[in-house]
Amino acid sequence: METKFFEKDKLLVLKITDEIDDYSVQKIRRRADNEIERYMPKRVVFDFDSVTFMDSAGIGLIIGRYKFTNMLGGSLEVANLTQSVKKIFEMSGILKLIPIVSLDEYKV
């Protein structure tokens, strides 16, 4: 996972670079929570640009981080969803809670 923090906007971009399944998600979850606690961002954006595979473990990951950032007073968004990632998120209904945003204005 690659992390970038934009101080001005208190924006934390977490770019996932692994396949997301039940095995890899434990490591991603730990790292994400550490980074969120460290920066206390207003906005957390998960970048899926480099995600070549995701199963339902990704839904649990995002719902869990959504609750965690909300608890700390921040918001959670997702960016660069591939077709197959989007298909799984749409099925779960979480895109009603979590907006898809663009990271174009931030060089990541």
Partner: protein, 159 residues
């Protein structure tokens, strides 16, 4: 007796590090049917869900054997994933979207829903104390069919 065109069998330990191994192996085998990238992604996801279920719920992280068999018949792939784990108490309830026995571990309860929507047919056989077998079938659309559809669409737009 059915005449199978091709068949493979795989057995591996119920370690979650084997989830990627299982889905990548099935995808490589399925590629003989010349599936589209989307069909391949669907198969990988469904296999990943079924194998994860065996590991997490069937064996509850104890070490057991997960069996995987795949058959190619004409343009279909039939995938069987079985374990000798604890079995599912109520299959109908387990299939409900968002149902999970382990919500505290951030499980989404979407496994069976994903298998059912990504594959053409999913059959679940489970006996408490004996184990679970999932049989999933997916029909691979012939690439020519896609091209023909495109051609006929082109004809329609020309008119």
């Amino acid at each position: 007796m059915k005449n199978f065109e091709n068949e493979m069998k795989l057995e591996f330990l119920s370690k979650s590090s084997n989830e990627a191994f299982a889905r990548i192996t099935v995808a490589a085998f399925a590629s003989q049917l010349d599936p589209s990238l989307e069909e391949l992604a669907d198969i990988k996801t469904a296999v990943s869900e079924a194998v994860t279920n065996s590991i997490i719920h069937g064996y509850e992280n104890k070490i057991g054997i997960v069996k995987l068999e795949a058959k190619l018949i004409e343009n279909e792939i039939i995938i069987e994933i079985s374990d000798h784990g604890k079995g599912i108490e109520n299959v109908e309830i387990a299939k409900e979207p968002l149902y999970t026995t382990k919500p505290n571990l951030e499980r989404s309860g979407m496994g069976f829903t994903i298998m059912e929507s990504f594959m053409d047919d999913v059959k679940i056989e489970s006996v408490l104390g004996l184990g679970t077998k999932i049989t999933m079938t997916k029909k691979i659309k012939k690439q020519e069919e896609d091209e023909m559809e495109e051609e006929s669409l082109n004809l329609i737009t020309k008119d």
